[in-house]
Amino acid sequence: MKKVVSLKEAIGIINDGDMVSFGGNVLHRAPMAAVREIARQHKRNLRIVKTAGAQDVDLLCAMDCVQSVDAGFISYETKYGLAAHYRKGVQEGRIKGNEHACYTVICALRGAAMNVPFMPVKGLNAGDLLLKNDYFVVVEDPFGGEPVTLVKSLMPDVAVIHVQECDIKGNSIIHGPKFEDILISRAAKKVIVTTEQIVPESKTRLNAERVDIPGFLVNAVVHVPNGAAPAACYRKYEVDDQSLSAFIAMKTKEEIQEYLKGYETKDYVGERMAGRIW
């Protein structure tokens, strides 16, 4: 029943081979502490789902945790360039890059939230994505209209989401852009929330209408201040330019292991909170 756990315990929920979806978008509110712990725990063959990822996907690709990536866009933004480890993994055939159109990831997750095997998608009606990927199929409209493209639902085993506020029951409030986080919290079988702050239940109750993820959907809550760094977290911190630039310059797994080690103290600072009696 106790939901507030250590980062290690929470990430222990994830199994090798799981389909995992991350919250945030590119450089914003990605659950980076959780991602680093996934790498430290040497998870294998993860199938990553995200509309638009950056360091989260790139780091896991670098550390050989990834079997496939279903996404519309994997890259840092202009200033930071491309996701080298993801690219290399796909180019060397170690990682399957399932290209979507961002929206088809969204539709595939909507299909999961509704527990249907596919979702119809307007718009995707031309080009090679349709031809080269078995997760798209064009069918007749049984109601007599034009042919319709269907995308196969993506049903994540685990969603990992970083928020600014969460109470001990898991009721979570995201400040600023929510990106696809609410959707993935509904699409996934299990939800891990990392949070800047654990707030009293009385506070979330005062803002009940603003709770983005109700506690009963949440399996684990981890207190991780700066848990999105080096990505940005609205109202908390901006991108950590130095950390991100350093990572992007890294070539070897050894360098990245050191990088992960460098974050351990920060990432585990919430352990004490998990141990407390609430």
């Binding site: 590119v26 638009a52 202009t78 090679d128 994505l129």
Partner: protein
């Protein structure tokens, strides 16, 4: 003819701004500083009721001064008038209600094919590109799809793209040298930027140039340049150069 008061990024920004009409719903995505500035410019000058849409969901952000490293950041919502996130922007386009979408791409050919996916084979790529993001669903559904690209060379404008991420229904392509228009199934040279020439465009384009007459892109006006300084004081429009 070259006026040193403005740069290529200014020409492209102003050219794009002038493509936008008042009241239009206009979306830009990630890594899209230049069109973002162009939208703010249009809104500040001739299109006050333009509806600015973006990934974080900030409708009509009041300012883009804080968007230094990202055109998908929370700052766009912090100063916005309402919240309308990416998911819903896509739905809007599917319903035929998105007037303009800004999209990228790595390779283009004369038939309007766009590649943002791979160089080489899709399943065993020589180069895995970032991906088309919204292109494959927005180019077919937005009323006007505008592509901007800060490189204009024969590796970008090719005879045949390696992979068709999407195709057709694009409206304009804006490059550092010119503007292409897509009509009757082919890219046509619409206007040459004042800093360039027909020869330069031809030398840097891997396909035949189609055009009815030689036109030049309107250079940025004084008013536009003054306004650009105000809305984009940190020169985000030049980030990609």
């Amino acid at each position: 003819m070259v006026n040193t008061d403005y740069r290529i990024s200014d020409i492209m920004t102003c050219a794009i701004a002038n493509m936008l009409r008042d009241g239009e719903t206009v979306f830009h995505g990630v890594s899209s500083h230049l069109p973002m500035v162009a939208m703010m410019l249009a809104k500040s000058l001739h299109a006050p009721d333009l509806v600015h849409l973006n990934i974080p969901g900030g409708v009509n952000p009041g300012s883009i001064h804080k968007s230094s490293y990202s055109s998908a950041g929370s700052d766009l919502l912090a100063s916005a008038e309402s919240y309308f996130p990416l998911e819903q922007v896509f739905d809007l386009s599917m319903r035929g209600k998105l007037d303009v979408a800004f999209l990228g791409g790595i390779q283009f050919d004369i038939d309007g094919n766009i590649n943002a996916s791979v160089i080489g084979d899709y399943h065993k790529p020589k180069v895995r590109l970032p991906g088309g993001a919204g292109s494959a669903v927005l180019i077919p559904t937005a009323k006007k799809a505008i592509i901007w690209r800060t490189k204009h060379d024969k590796r970008t404008f090719v005879e045949n793209v390696d992979f068709v991420t999407t195709r057709g229904n694009l409206w304009r392509i804006v490059t550092p040298l010119c503007v292409f228009e897509f009509r009757n199934g082919k890219l046509h040279l619409e206007s040459i930027h004042p800093n360039s020439s027909l020869d330069e465009v031809r030398e840097n384009t891997g396909f035949e140039l189609l055009y009815d007459e030689i036109k030049y892109t309107e250079p940025p006006s004084k008013q536009e340049l003054t306004m650009l300084k105000k809305i984009d004081p940190h020169d985000y429009r030049s980030i990609e150069f």
